[in-house]
Amino acid sequence: MTPLLEVRNLSKFYGARIGCADVSFNLYPGEVLGIVGESGSGKSTLLNCLAGHQPPDTGEVIFDTRVEGPRDTVRMSEPERRMLGRTDWAFVHQNPRDGLRMRISAGGNVGERLMAVGARHYGQIRDAAEDWLTRVEIDTGRMDDRPSAFSGGMQQRLQIARNLVTGPRLVFMDEPTGGLDVSVQARLLDLLRGLVRRMGLSAVIVTHDLAVVRLLADRLMVMKDGHVVETGLTDQVLDDPQHAYTQLLVSSVLQV
């Protein structure tokens, strides 16, 4: 089976400091990979390099494209990479304000990716937007409201709808539940799990919340100081942590 995403020896330096160093992994279709670690451990740098938001210094990010098969996205031309960014890839930001257009209605936000790939029929765009708002449990009566009138949880769900409308195969998520209260988090996680399973999406989820990865991720990668210190199946890593840092991380979780 060809991996959907194959990362080889990816490194990114900020001057002399390490962003992330020598990261390699394979992600197979339908698989969800969690990346955990403390603040400053290089999780977000890694995710941005994978999604093409930042150029890595060394290494390859090979994505299995629909038409041409495996291609190195680091070395592909910018138009191709941006095309991937709005068709086969999706990026869910931690802060919905970074991923939404706040001055444009919810419907317009969902429709933007469709229009970006050439949809030119207002009625069809609107139908698709309505369908997706329903799927992420936003009342279709709020379709013409701006995201600034939405609660944080709704904004995050809108961001997810906006990203999934073009049927991507790979979703990058940067702390998708950060900044939400626990009950809203639980609903969002439930929704995400349903969508990921039903659509057969592959996902890379960066988070510092172990509960999130326990629920969503099949496999786990633990990062510290820019290096991957432990990888394995999620339950295996969380229940039987081998590396000292992972042990610290797992034992630091507050029990209610």
């Binding site: 257009r101 209605s105 429709g111 970006a116 030119r120 029929h121 207002y122 009625g123 013409d144």
Partner: protein, 278 residues
């Protein structure tokens, strides 16, 4: 004509620089060519870009017409016309058909233009994507990569909010299936006239951009399949000349709700009334 000035105010090197930008603009229709806009003896927003393009195109044998919102007799038009009368000594006219260069603010004349004419637009904001994407680096990239989905998001918002495409002026066009271009704030009624036998040049002084539509260039107004482009027009005849095919201004005549609709193109209206009288 004042002899202390070079012909048409600008020095020859500057005109040469502007002509280069114009030529590049003509070669790549709809592409915004940066140029080193000069300080002009008028404030930004009064047509400094248009004046520089006109100055670079003028020859002593030209006849100049200047329009401001369709009219020949408003402040902006009169000032610019006087400016070139004094600094270039060229003949001026108010008749569209007699002019070889027409500088215009926000209208295209009703009388069809010919291949012997140049229409120069004053452009306040040349970037059609500006209010959707504030970063210049990003809009340039979007033009380069032909990523124009965002323009349709704006039209989508119009329909979602107003039930129709409510953009009434500065209506974006796609030039030769490549660049999305702002036609300057002309009413969308004028958009079909952009496909013209005349050379059309656009000058934005403050933003330092020049772009062009060569004669007979395709310029398609953006729209949706189920909400096609509609060059709307007030549903009245002109109160002065009775024209039913011209763009109308609504004029308030008193405090009691009295109003009249008159041709925005004063030369067209006067010409029609002259014919009616004869």
């Amino acid at each position: 004509m004042i002899s202390h000035y070079n012909f048409a105010y600008l020095d020859e090197q500057t005109k040469r620089m502007i002509r280069r930008a114009i030529l590049k603009g003509v070669a790549v229709p709809g592409y915004q060519v940066p140029f080193a806009s000069r300080e002009m003896p008028m404030p930004y927003g009064w047509g400094t870009g248009g004046v520089q393009v006109s100055a670079a195109c003028l020859t002593p044998g030209d006849t100049l017409k200047v329009i401001d919102q369709g009219a020949d007799d408003t402040t902006n038009a009169v000032s610019i016309r006087k400016f070139f009368e004094r600094t270039a000594g060229v003949a001026v006219t108010e008749r569209t058909a007699e002019a070889s260069i027409i500088q215009t603010r926000h209208r295209i004349p009703e009388v069809p233009l010919t291949e012997d004419q140049i229409l120069v637009y004053q452009v306040p904001m040349p970037e059609p994507l500006r209010f959707l994407e504030p970063r210049e680096s990003e809009t340039r990239k979007m033009h380069a990569l032909e990523e124009y989905g965002l323009m349709h998001v704006k039209l989508y918002e119009d329909i979602a909010r107003h039930g129709e495409i409510a953009t009434a002026y500065n209506y974006p066009v796609k030039v030769e299936d490549r660049y999305v271009m702002s036609p300057s704030p002309i009413p969308k009624f004028d958009n079909p006239k952009l496909e013209s036998p005349a050379l059309q040049l656009f000058g934005a002084g403050r933003e330092q951009r020049i772009y062009a539509l060569p004669p007979h260039t395709k310029a398609v107004s953006l729209d949706f399949e189920d909400y096609p482009f509609d060059p709307s027009r007030a549903d009245h005849p002109c109160a002065l000349c009775g024209a039913t095919d011209s763009y109308l201004d609504e004029v308030i005549t008193d405090d009691a709700g009295g109003r009249m609709f008159v041709c925005s193109d004063t030369d067209y209206c006067a010409g029609r009334r002259g014919e009616d009288a004869a």
